[in-house]
């Protein structure tokens, strides 16, 4: 039996790993690093510009199950299950003067590693990019800093020659999140 836990339920058919020297991989990797920089700089409007109009942004709830179950995330419940309009609303809220949970702001650092870029057999234009994310967040001067680790499976699409995020599936590595909230984007 194939262990389906190894992969999120997304992926282009017949995908092929690109060499790290491939220009498309390097461009995709650069996109993720630039995206993380905008988020760490709290340039949330700038982050929205990196998303396609039809973006899907999901973070399913992970659950602890026995291996034989074959699934370890809830099919019908997520921490994030967003489209562009709902993400824009979250960004708008962070822009108000009264989003207390992020004012004073958290100090954040996103570490994006283990980047692999895939192309599908038929669709040469979209890239599927897997990465590991370690998200560090510190608030105030008393609370312990919080970490959140996730595997990300992204689909990047070329829009007017620029790469844009069309889909992100976050496989968070905790069944019970040890972070106060998900006010920020991962």
């Amino acid at each position: 039996m194939t262990d389906r836990r190894a992969r999120a339920e997304v992926g282009v058919a017949g995908r092929r790993l690109l060499a790290y020297t491939d220009a498309r991989h390097q461009e995709a990797h650069q996109f993720l690093v630039e995206e993380a920089a905008r988020l760490d700089e709290r340039d949330f409007d700038g982050w929205l510009e990196l998303l396609t109009e039809d973006v899907r942004y999901r973070m399913p709830v992970r659950v602890t199950t026995m291996r034989r179950t074959g699934v370890d995330q809830r099919p019908d419940m997520a921490h994030f299950d967003e489209d562009r309009s709902s993400l824009a609303m979250r960004v708008a809220r962070l822009g108000t003067a009264r989003a207390w949970t992020e004012d004073p702001p958290s100090r954040t650092r996103r570490f994006v590693t283990n980047v692999r870029t895939f192309v599908g057999e038929l669709d040469g234009d979209e890239l599927e990019v897997e990465s590991s994310l370690l998200f560090f967040r510190s608030r105030g001067d008393v609370r312990p800093a919080q970490l959140l680790a996730a595997r990300r499976v992204d689909q990047l699409r070329r829009v007017n020659r620029e790469l844009r995020l069309a889909r992100r599936e976050l496989q968070v590595e905790e069944a019970v999140l040890r972070t106060q909230n998900l006010a920020l984007f991962l």
Partner: protein
Amino acid sequence: MDVAELAGHVRRGMVPALVYSDADVFALERERLFARAWILLAHESEIPEPGDFVVRRVVDDSFIVARDDRGNAGVHLNVCRHRGMQVCRAELGRTSHFRCPYHGWTYRTDGTLASVPFRDDAYGDDGVPPDGERLLPAPSMATYNGLIFVSLDPAAPALADYLGDFTFYLDLYTGQSADGIEVRGPQRWRIGANWKIACENFAGDMYHTPYTHHSVVDIGLFREPTAAKRKEGVVYEAGRGSGTTYKLPAGDFRQKLHYVGYPDDMIDRMEATWSDAQRSLVGRDGFMVSAATVFPNFSLVHNWPRRRDGGDVVPFISLRQWQPVSATETEVLSWFAVDRNAPADLKDASYQAYLACFGSSGMFEQDDVENWVSITEASRGVLAGRLLLNSRMGLNAAGEPLRPPLEGFAGPGTARVGFGEFNQRGWLARWADYLTADGR
């Protein structure tokens, strides 16, 4: 710590801040409150088929909530009778048996012992004592509208008596048709806050909404929580529950439910399912339930924010259990709930509205939790812990209510219009009752 003194302060609406972080208080809560009260664990829709199970806690006690081969829901302590190993280490699944990984004692989904390896060799024909032949059942277990509750007290009052008149209001969340709700989730996460603050907040804090949640009004997500709107609502106490409401604009029963986003077919079912008094609460009196808490740590919320696609509003319901981890940490279990018979498009839009507002990423909940964590942190101070926090809103200096209870209100219990901390004081007084009562 003098618990009688604490209780005395709390009963007059002055809350010693240390109750939000003191380890001795928490130890007493474990022993005298959580070992006696009825605690929500799950909803039957989480375990629809025989063999389905979820694992939930009452503080540190782990329970398997399982549907057995005959289709009955049961709750069993997740501890092998042999050496105390957890027989189930998954949080959900479907299984025929629970098998202890240590020595292989195997239990059926109804908790009874099915087999012991080498039983005759190890124990003889009659060696395993009869009381070891099943997982320990929850001392008391009962359901209401599919909600599964347990109590660690075998002499707990009947659940219906415990909930009392709050079922009138609970039906408005969980009984919108004869088939009741289905739930998704829960989302689970830990917050650095004392569990009581959340319970009090949901029980009756209408006063925080305009300020804490200003940002969601600023962005047009939810039009209601302005100060003017909140003070027109009533807070009510009934049985073991208490909650808040919003006053709806003029109109009949159907128009009022349209206002909060319910479609006609759902309104037809509410009309058919609810009692005259329940319909009058909405239609005649014009109140719609919002947040509520069932003592001790089960809360509900019902709001009607803007739909993701713009324009109309859509209602959503969330259930939550504030599960204490320690005096200063709480695990939140937050479910999305919707009537089983709701149209598919409403279920989807309602789920999206829930995610926007409550739960781990919810824009209401984020700012609530920031408050609760900050209160918990502050209360750890020696000086701060001695402060008596003023929870006397709605009373004058002599301790008399500023306004009498509402007359002619359609619902049971006591209802009051305007800002006040009657519900929080009521919740805390009950908390004090449990803490000051010695164990049986």
